[in-house]
């Protein structure tokens, strides 16, 4: 699903965020990427969604080499991978329903089809009753579930979660991780970026540890080692 080869990202003038990272993620895997603040986790996510360009190396997602992706191809890539963030990144002046609908509308889907899919994903994240509430009327956990629902509308093969529990309490965090596991059970590859030791350890899945931009550990049933 993901193939990174000698990936390096240097921010001018000489800040090395990612250094010579080579790794593969197989379809259907649930992979946690851990590390301390500034170790390059978020840069990796930005590179994977073409928000940043690599300085060196190669990125292949689902067989598509996006190392030198053209600007006009970026929207196509982003429709194929789901991404959720610590700060949810919802449109504040749109309701939960409209936020999810927007992700489908940008792809030119018809209204009837959109309504059907939005209802389905809202059901999946148990938010049908809150469909017409604005983000500021929802709790943090509910907002993150809206973001997850939005990321699923295109039925992505890959879901990237960048610190999805960073703004949530322990119980809500657990709910969100359960939801991600449920999505993974349906066959979606999940890439979880986190520095939450407890969550990563409880998952008992593959853990890749980054330190100063380097991969220092990659364990199939790993733990948070730092």
């Amino acid at each position: 699903m993901i193939h990174l080869k000698n990936l390096t990202k240097v921010y001018p003038p000489s800040t090395v965020a990612i250094k010579d990272v080579t790794l593969d993620v197989e379809p259907g895997e649930f992979v946690s990427i851990v590390g301390q603040s500034g170790c390059g986790k978020s840069t990796l996510v930005k590179l994977l969604m073409a928000e940043e360009r690599p300085t060196e190396g190669e990125i292949v997602i689902g067989g598509w080499n996006i190392t030198h992706i053209k600007k006009r191809e970026i929207p196509v890539l982003r429709k194929q991978i789901g991404v959720i963030f610590q700060d949810f990144k919802l449109l504040p002046k749109k309701t939960a329903f409209e936020n999810i609908r927007f992700a489908l509308e940008v792809s030119g889907h018809k209204r009837r089809e959109i309504d059907k899919v939005v209802h389905q994903v809202l059901g999946l994240v148990s938010l049908r009753d809150q469909a017409h509430q604005y983000p500021n009327q929802l709790s943090g956990g509910e907002q993150q579930r809206v973001a997850i629902a939005r990321s699923l509308v295109h039925r992505p093969k890959l879901l990237m979660a960048d610190e999805p529990t960073g703004n949530l309490d322990a119980i809500t965090s657990r709910e969100i991780i359960d939801l991600l596991q449920k999505i993974n059970d349906f066959g979606t590859t999940v890439l979880l970026v986190s520095h939450d030791r407890e969550i990563v350890n409880n998952l008992r899945r593959r853990v890749i540890t980054l330190d100063h931009g380097h991969v220092i550990s990659d364990q199939a049933r790993g733990k948070y080692v730092l």
Partner: protein, 304 residues
């Protein structure tokens, strides 16, 4: 394409209503800009009316010697009418001149005229220029023509030159001030408008980033904001028309008092007659300006 357009219209309307205070602030700025533009149009109309009134009250009178024949006067009249700067040339015969003299100065006519055996007046040509600034040129043309000068009573030209030159100089100054004001207003309007839109787009920067992240193309993001800015223009035009109407209603009595006996400045009449071209021109100019401002302001935030 139609689907994208219709969705963009919906997004634009939603954003306009849901960001009420931001919309109101942007709208107010645009109303101020349009009011500045309308003030400028009103000032230009008042200036033109004043100068036109002044122009009509001034003319160059060429008093011919009594022995000059009508055919010579007609020839000079035709010559002058060919001049681009001349609006009209009216010929007054000695008899018509005498009638006017009697009407204007009955006492003088009663005492002096009986002593004269014949009409002492010659032909007169009254020349009106197209613009006040043209009078000196016309006078120069006449004074440089030795044939004309040999037929004229030169005494009257001194008065004409002094008057017309001061009028032309006043007109020139008024035009320069009006042009400077117009330029200043236009530059201010463009800056104010551009900044208002920039602030509006800046406050949407996070939303724009989110739209990019969920895969919206630049065109899909840009179109609703462009349509919204055109909507601002449309609403501000309507509201500004109401504001302008009341401003004219309020200022008309002041203008009437200020220019009594000088010029008839009817702002409401003028704006009513010119409403269609003014509104269309303002809409096109403002819409273009807002589309350009929106596109420029968006460019920075679309690089996510």
């Amino acid at each position: 394409m139609m689907l994208i357009f219709l969705r963009s219209v919906r997004y634009a309307l939603q954003d306009f209503v849901r960001n009420f205070w931001l919309s109101l602030a942007t709208l107010l700025v645009m109303i101020i800009v349009l009011f500045l533009v309308n003030t400028l149009i009103g000032l230009d109309y008042a200036k033109t009316a004043l100068l036109s009134e002044l122009n009509q009250r001034i003319d160059i009178a060429l008093f011919f010697k009594p022995n000059v024949q009508e055919s010579d006067v007609k020839r000079i009249q035709t010559d002058l009418e060919q001049n681009q700067a001349v609006a009209s040339v009216v010929s007054i015969s000695p008899d018509e001149g005498m009638t006017t003299l009697k009407e204007r100065y009955p006492d003088i006519a009663e005492k002096i005229l009986p002593a004269l055996n014949e009409n002492p007046l010659g032909y007169t040509l009254r020349i009106q220029a197209r613009n006040l600034e043209d009078y000196p040129t016309i006078l120069n043309t006449i004074e440089n023509n030795s044939e004309y000068m040999s037929l004229l009573d030169a005494a009257h030209q001194v008065d004409a030159r002094a008057l017309t030159e001061s009028a032309a100089s006043a007109a020139d100054k008024i035009n320069r001030i009006a042009l400077a004001l117009a330029s200043l207003f236009l530059v201010l309007s463009i800056i104010i408008m551009f900044n208002a839109i920039r602030v509006s787009i800046y406050s949407h920067r996070d939303e724009i980033a989110v739209m990019k992240l969920v895969g919206a193309t630049n065109m899909y993001i840009r179109l609703p904001y462009v349509l919204e800015s055109v909507l601002y223009v449309f609403c501000s035009l309507i509201l500004n028309s109401v504001l302008t109407f009341f401003a004219i209603k309020f200022s008309q009595p002041l203008l009437d008092r200020m220019f009594v006996g000088i010029a008839n400045i009817q702002l409401l009449e003028y704006f009513t007659a010119q409403a269609q071209p003014i509104l269309i021109a303002e809409f096109i100019a403002m819409a273009l300006l807002s589309i350009i401002s929106t596109s420029l302001a968006l460019r920075k935030h679309l690089k996510v």
